[in-house]
Symmetry: none
Subunit: 151 residues, 4 copies
Amino acid sequence: MFFTIDPGNGVPIYEQLVRQVKFAVAEGTLKSGQLIPSSRLLAQQLAINPNTINRAWQRLQSEGVLILIRGRGLAVTDSASSICAEARQSLIEQRLTNVLTEALQSGLDQAEIMQMVSRLFQKLTPNIVTPSSDDVNSTPQLRPGHYLAES
Amino acid sequence: MFFTIDPGNGVPIYEQLVRQVKFAVAEGTLKSGQLIPSSRLLAQQLAINPNTINRAWQRLQSEGVLILIRGRGLAVTDSASSICAEARQSLIEQRLTNVLTEALQSGLDQAEIMQMVSRLFQKLTPNIVTPSSDDVNSTPQLRPGHYLAES
Amino acid sequence: MFFTIDPGNGVPIYEQLVRQVKFAVAEGTLKSGQLIPSSRLLAQQLAINPNTINRAWQRLQSEGVLILIRGRGLAVTDSASSICAEARQSLIEQRLTNVLTEALQSGLDQAEIMQMVSRLFQKLTPNIVTPSSDDVNSTPQLRPGHYLAES
Amino acid sequence: MFFTIDPGNGVPIYEQLVRQVKFAVAEGTLKSGQLIPSSRLLAQQLAINPNTINRAWQRLQSEGVLILIRGRGLAVTDSASSICAEARQSLIEQRLTNVLTEALQSGLDQAEIMQMVSRLFQKLTPNIVTPSSDDVNSTPQLRPGHYLAES
DNA sequence: GTGGTCTAGACCACA
DNA sequence: GTGGTCTAGACCACA
């Protein structure tokens, strides 16, 4: 499947998994009825503790995103799509609010902050207009090892 | 003095103190040579353990923001101003980068994110020019109980 | 592992630990990726409080020498080697500078000081080539009870 | 008189005073019978607490360097010269031993350390052969504010 | 099992 | 009065 994990970036591993599933569902990459990988299999692939994955999958079950189908595994629920879209929205909003609040409290004003945001976007989004063929896989914001870095 | 603490908001208390000092120095509220409150006094005022404050003050010493003057207390160093201005800049940038990166990875595009940022700013910074009468007391970013909230 | 502590020699215990880790990394004894002993284990072995060890390990984290791998422990970072080599160099230079400066200010001249240094080296490094039989067990610099003594 | 103090350099102020007196006696700058400044006067000049000076003067009395002459003040004893010469010797030796020991334990070898010592001497001792007249007062090791720096 | 945070309190050096 | 160090122990998140 498509999970990338960065232990030691501050965000708990199980949390990283939860977010990635939610984002995939919100985007439509993961659709209702689809099965997600078993904890044992995924644990092997990612070389992490199966307990950690169980924790993530259980969280997603308790939030109604996944449902256990006996003998088959965990599947994406019908309501997952709307749940995840909403979750994504509120998660991002929450985090943005926190950062903007802190930026304001640090003494920066709105104009300065907006300027920083614009500048950072330029760094984060590869030039869409003229992508050279070598460029295809080099979107810096996807660099594994920094996925979801928070600190 | 001017410290506000929110235990239980995820950010360690000592970390909250460290940031507030740095921001105050970056802003110019705290100036070179000034003594910061003694751990015992501040501990009493904030109703927390002096050790917690010591931890913050020591962090600031190790970063060159404060210097110990034996028998007198801790003073802001000469180099603190530039250190803190830089620290503030990189702290905010780092956090903004993380959130924007995550927002992009969640499937939102730059336009959508910018829209969220603008909307959030409207909520965070009450329009000072034409404050509606309902607005008077609702500056959310100053609510102490959520200062520096991160989770 | 290989830590030796001398409480009561003036140098704080946590400081002794910090230096020993840095020196071990600088020498290459501790390599990138290696886990250092857990605070609880080491606390037992050295018969000191785990908090004291935590303090040392945290200092090393804040300096980029160690990194937390959640649930596993603390590992030596990739950049630790260069950081520690540099730290060792500047630490020793700083201390040498202070002592030499003070020696000069005490009224001794360079020749006298150099003579002292040579004489002390003879005492500290037993002649390995032709060890006299009395010498066998008298390598003073390895006496644990004075490791890192400073006062 | 001739005292320079650096609060906040790690070495206690009273200790700085003790050393300066001892070194002055060892050098012959301060001679038997000479009176040293009263704590009240010196405290004013140095802008420090009189208690701190008393502590230094008392230490020197207890070591036989100073003696109280009622109604006149504190005078350098007859035996001070030999006491201080010896004290200077052992103080410097002790400190040198500590630093050299630590340098060896850090993994550096004798040759490397000797090289550092030589290099540092070049930085510390102004060129004696051709002192230009402007140079007279610029011996870097005397820079106040760094006198006796230890950390 | 691993650290991280916090409290409570002792003891010390220094001014 | 000021911090600095250390102990003892609680509670938590994470793997």
